[in-house]
Amino acid sequence: MSAPGMPPRDREIDPITLSTVWHGFQTTCREMRHLMTRTAQSFLMAQLKDMSVGVWRADGATVAMPEGLLDQFLGTRFAIADIRDQFDDDLRPGDVILTNDPFHGGHAPHLPDWGFIRPIFFEGKLEYFTLVRGHVMDTGGSFPGGYFPNGFDIHAEGLAIPPTKVVDAGSERRDVMNLIFNNVRFREEMEVDCEAMIATTAFAERRVHEILESYGAATVRRCIDAMLDRTERAVRAEIASIADGVYEGASATDDDGTVLDEPVWVRVKVIVAGDEMTLDFSESDAQRPGFVNRIFAATYGTAVGSAILGMDPALADYHNEGSLRPITVIAPKGSVLNCEYPATVGGSPVAVGEQITEAVTEALSYARPERAIAPWGKHRGDYTSGLDTRNGRPYVRTSFDYDGSAGAMHGFDGATGPASFGCLGTVMRGNVEEAEVRFPWRVTKLEVVPDFMGAGRWRGGGGVDWRALNEGGPGRMATGSSDGDEMVPKGVLGGADSPRSRTFVERDGELIRVKPHRMQDLLPGDLMIKLSSGGAGVGDPRERDPERVREDVAEEMVSLEAAARIYGVALDPETLEIDAERTAELRAAAGPRPAIVIDEERLTVSLEREA
């Protein structure tokens, strides 16, 4: 089952050495993340974990990929190929290469994702690469932090660093780093985080060396071949168990931030043939004027990672290049999923990155209903910058606190907690208390809103109401990482869509609506309000166990009205006892399912009135 051109392998490798080496690489990646969270100072990297790590073979094959953001690391082999081309014989032990460029051989999803890549040599031979990529505090450009719309071209989005040696055989190239740091904001903070990333690649090198010293490079190579083959066989068996055919999915973002209020579509055909799968995005929209364009490596990473999601959870800890081999991704050049220089790409990790995951999981939900996953709440992010009047220093802040929750899966409700589909639960929220110490915003609310999710036989996790008061100076916010005011997470297998989300700024008693992909000025005393819907549902809500509906009402996750009108479950308003007879009547009566809507004056969430 091995791909042609692969080196011959020893099928007799002993299983104990194999699993020891396998776990050794997995553990290395987990420890790298741990090291980053302990040493970075960026809220985004250390607390929210917007970063990725991994180990690749010298030929670019993925050895270990236990954790990260799909677009930040699953397509790293493209960067490795170009780095090997560019540097040829000029790679040496102790080198570290920095790149954040989506184009010119960097293959970064967007400019704020700085990746430090270290070649790992052993006994004089290039054996592996390791990568640490994190969303840094700033990358220059016309607004701090990233995710701002309307850049003229990629250069307006910030400093673009093609693969560049920043550490040469162990010594830092200070003039190069000085040039780079001179072109970004928060220089000292950036230096701390870059040191942490470089040190983490050095740590990975030490750990990989330990494995190589223990077993020898040849044995480790054979183990990796065996790892990749075993995973490939398992993934091929998973694909083979899906009926051959073409399954379609589609999702759109609200707009591209430049051409306003015009949705941008991602469309996929998942073609299953035997034990191989093709994800064909050819019918997606063309490259856009606005910043939702995605480079191919990022499209590839998100697409294959999303396809893996529905596979046997027993494989979850073991994915590697073998999982990727049977999957082909097609996205024609010049499309929004394979954009060309000098396209703007700043918003693309969210839009259209999340749309890729939504489209692929939708298509696979038709292919394998028993592994259906409904889309999660949309990311409702923003980058807010301004002056912290407590210390006179500028700040840039972003967060995941205000995101809705996970979508349902076949068999399980979605979890309630900050989550967006592109991140798959890898990112975390910060503590309100920590955020209040660091940023001049006082959080006044972070609470689940009843009914504010997609209903279903299995329902999505709860949507949230998040509010914070600006206690600092004037500032601006970029809502480039938000989505979902118009285009909502779609329910699958008859599950309900998640409701629309909204963001407002309340100023002097007036509500100013702020759409995704916009810029908004902020004043002292502004109250920012985010009503972020939860995940979508799986299966018809009228098939949900009435007892679970009763529990949801008791828990104030679902209203009595929604229980009756959406789930078809009649409860006594006082005792919450189930009225079985009335429930049977409600469930038998066919009728349109009422939508969940936000009252934009009172900021409440309720069921659409009966017609």
């Binding site: 299983p15 050495t17 194999l18 699993s19 020891t20 050794g24 553990t27 420890e31 090291l35 969270t37 302990r38 040493t39 100072q41 960026s42 250390a46 607390q47 236990p66 954790e67 000292e188 701390v192 040191e195 040190a199 050095a202 740590f203 750990r207 010293e213 077993y215 075993r230 046997d312 959870p313 027993a314 494989l315 979850a316 800890d317 073991y318 996953i373 996970a406 399980f412 409700d413 979890a415 907690g417 989550a419 798959l424 639960g425 890898t426 929220r429 910060g430 503590n431 309100v432 208390e433 209040e436 110490v437 006044t444 609310k445 609470e447 996790g461 709860g462 949230v464 008791a554 828990e555």
Partner: protein, 701 residues
């Protein structure tokens, strides 16, 4: 006389230090009434003496129990409610993210997390304290009373109070607590600032809720234990092991349920230090392999390490806890073939019931079955012969598993042994490398019922040069309880400017903590002169999210002393992470004080002497057929009771005792020291490195 009792999943261990002699006893745990098991163990230890007279002679009774952990993991805690800042009732449900740590991002098909307190019992009240400590909205006591009343009406017997920023100003929480106590007399009430005064509402609220959840059961159990020990004749001081590795009175523990969650394992590292320190070892890896779990603790400078980052099951518990890492690998761990065709061992365990196949009931092969088939475990002397093991049954089950791998029974048993050893070795590596330390510079102290057989194999795998098996190894935790100190950990979060904190402000913070500690010990009747105070500071580079604990000097602090602390921080950071940033500002976040009562430590296990054989040959109990280096060999078996100081021999060998067996692999030499520790040293092969035949590990030069 001092008595220590540790209740484990299968056995209740008891150690008695009686003048110059020490007794070690294992007795079955009685889950339906754990106190009965405690009294049984004491009676067994009393031997011929009247148990009441025996207990009456004890000045101190130290106890560790997994009760709180069991209550938490089996969800049998109190009906609990949470009163919190309005608008933040879902903090404990949202946690810091939707996935538990350690779960793969590709493993989504899992039920959503369910908090210990359901949403309908998490109620907000209007109140707010700011990050500066200023009270923006004072709590309305009438509202709190009304809310508490509703929760009690709904059936809550335990109430947690968690307000934002209470770590800097607990005023609102204090007033709310008083109101709750008025509205809900008899309820168990805990506040977040009392449970754990740290910044970070999720960790603080979560820990407080866990404390409220397990607290009533803990309180009832400790009350019961105190009463029945008294009735049985005990009138000394009863002390309970807490997670931080110290001991506390029953009264202090009753409102601190979360601090009993690691009550048992927290004691073992202390015993390991006591065993290793006299031999001159300060860097120790303490490993404890029991029936279901393997625990490892990395000890540096003879100091028990603690952490605030623990999860117990799905619950985040952020109290200062002995940093013991646990994985599901023990004698009862079940071997199976996973989805990728690889042999996997654990984390599922056959436990005490049905137990390993060889016990006669179980059907899935376990590590103990493999150890038996390999000849390491004696079939006729397991637990001193109390339990006869069925070798044929174990071998049949292992053969069946092996068929799926194309391996015979013995080869499969070997693979199980190797696999579980690898898992444990990885756990050791993870613990040490996470902190940047090379395991090969450490000495291992191995304990637990199965630690004797697997300890040296792990050490061999990792290149750890020597392994100590203390006489108390099989009851390591109980032994540790005799060498622990009474005391507490106190912390103060600074409200000072973290970068430019003045020496005087630190001084004030320490003075406050020291006054609190002295008051605490005064209540226990300990003289101020007998209280040892150890200061430390949490420091980090400006803006980071994790701190490094740096020891601070006693006495007055001046600017130069603070500067030295910053230098210590740079050095410590460099050692931990491989780089430092001398140009970056260093923040000081918290002042800590560890206050302990100074007293004479227990002497450790004294040699009973009587049974010791005159020469090594007389200590031999025969031979056993074992698999060593892939071959069946007749291996000499020694009886531990007959081994005495000066006895020395080379592996392969086995050492049987009533409570456990020690395997001395071929690559090790064993000797017995004055304290009757068995000390194994890896034999030097060719050159300086370990390059024994078939050895995969090469030591770095």
């Amino acid at each position: 006389m001092r008595i220590a009792v540790d209740i484990g999943g299968t056995f209740t261990d008891c150690v008695v230090e009686d003048g110059a002699t020490t007794r070690l006893v294992k007795s079955p745990t009685t889950p339906d009434d754990p106190v009965r098991g405690v009294l049984d163990a004491v009676a067994k230890a009393a031997g011929a003496e009247d148990p009441a007279a025996f207990l009456g002679r004890a000045e101190r009774f130290v106890h560790g129990t997994t009760l709180a952990t069991n209550v938490l993991l089996t969800k049998r805690g109190a009906e609990t409610g949470l009163i919190t800042t309005a608008g933040f009732r879902d903090v404990i449900q949202m946690r810091r993210g939707i996935r538990n740590l350690g779960t793969s991002m590709f493993d989504q098909f899992r039920p959503p997390y369910e908090p210990l307190v359901p949403r309908s019992r998490r109620l907000g009240v209007a109140e707010r304290t700011l990050a500066t400590g200023a009270v923006e909205t004072a709590v309305d006591e009438a509202e709190v009373e009304a809310v508490a009343g509703r929760l009690v009406e709904d059936g809550c017997e335990s109430l947690a109070i968690g307000f934002l920023h209470s770590y800097v100003n607990p005023e609102n929480e204090r007033r709310a607590k008083a109101a709750v106590e008025r509205a809900a007399p008899g309820a168990y009430v805990v506040c977040s600032h009392e449970t754990l005064s740290i910044l970070g509402e999720f960790e603080r609220f979560s820990t407080t809720v866990v404390s409220a959840y397990v607290g009533p059961a803990v309180s009832a159990y400790l009350g019961e234990l105190e009463r029945r020990l008294g009735e049985a004749g005990f009138d000394g001081s009863l002390l309970i092991v807490i997670s931080s590795g110290l001991m506390q009175t029953v009264e202090e523990c009753r409102m601190r349920g979360a601090e009993l969650l690691v009550s048992g394992p927290a004691a073992a590292p202390t015993a390991a230090i006591a065993a290793a320190a006299p031999l001159g070892y300060a860097s120790v890896l303490e490993v404890d392999m029991g029936g279901t779990s393997f625990e490892v603790c990395m000890i540096r400078e003879a100091t028990v390490p603690t952490t605030r980052e623990a999860f117990i099951g799905e619950e985040r518990v952020a109290t200062e806890t002995v940093d013991v890492n646990s994985i599901g690998a023990g004698g009862g761990s079940i071997a199976r073939i996973d989805g990728l065709g690889l042999l996997a061992v654990g984390p599922r365990s056959a436990g005490a019931d049905p137990g390993p196949v060889a016990y006669g009931k179980g059907t899935e092969p376990t590590v103990t079955d493999a150890d038996l088939v390999l000849g390491y475990v004696p079939a006729d002397y397991f637990l001193g012969g109390e339990l006869r093991l069925d070798v044929d049954r174990a071998e049949a089950a292992i053969a069946e598993l092996g068929a799926g791998l194309g391996l015979g029974a013995v080869e499969t048993a070997e693979a199980i042994f190797e696999t579980v050893t690898t898992s444990m070795a990885n756990a050791v590596t993870e613990v040490s490398t996470k902190k940047g330390h090379d395991v090969r510079r450490f000495t291992m102290v191995a304990g637990g019922g199965a630690g004797g057989i697997h300890g040296a194999a792990i050490a061999h795998r990792l290149g750890i040069p020597s392994v100590i098996f203390p006489l108390s190894g099989p009851v390591l935790s109980a032994m540790g309880m005799l060498t622990m100190a009474v005391g507490q950990e106190l912390s103060k979060v600074g409200v000072w400017d973290r970068l430019t904190v003045a020496p005087q402000q630190l001084e004030e913070a320490f003075a406050m903590l020291e006054a609190e500690a002295r008051e605490h010990f005064a209540r226990l009747g300990v003289a101020a002169s007998d209280v040892a105070l150890a200061r430390s500071l949490s420091m980090r580079y400006l803006g980071q999210f994790h701190e490094v604990r740096i020891a601070a000097p006693a006495g007055a602090l001046d600017a130069a002393a603070v500067e030295r602390l910053r230098e210590d921080f740079h050095a410590c950071y460099l050692e931990l992470y491989g780089y430092s940033l001398p140009w970056r500002g260093v923040e000081i976040l918290e002042a800590h004080l560890r206050a302990t009562a100074e007293e004479e430590a227990a002497a450790g296990v004294a040699p009973p002497g009587a049974a010791v054989a005159a020469d090594l040959e007389a200590a031999r109990a025969g031979e056993r057929s074992c698999l060593i280096g892939g071959e069946r060999r007749e291996v000499p078996v020694f009886h531990r009771d007959r081994l005495g100081p000066g006895h020395a021999f080379e592996g392969p060998a086995l050492i049987d005792s009533e409570a456990s067996t020690i395997l001395v692999p071929a690559e090790f030499a064993a000797r017995v020291d004055e304290r009757l520790n068995i000390v194994l040293e890896q034999r030097r092969g060719a050159g300086a490195g370990v390059e024994a035949a078939g050895d995969r590990m090469t030591m770095a030069s």
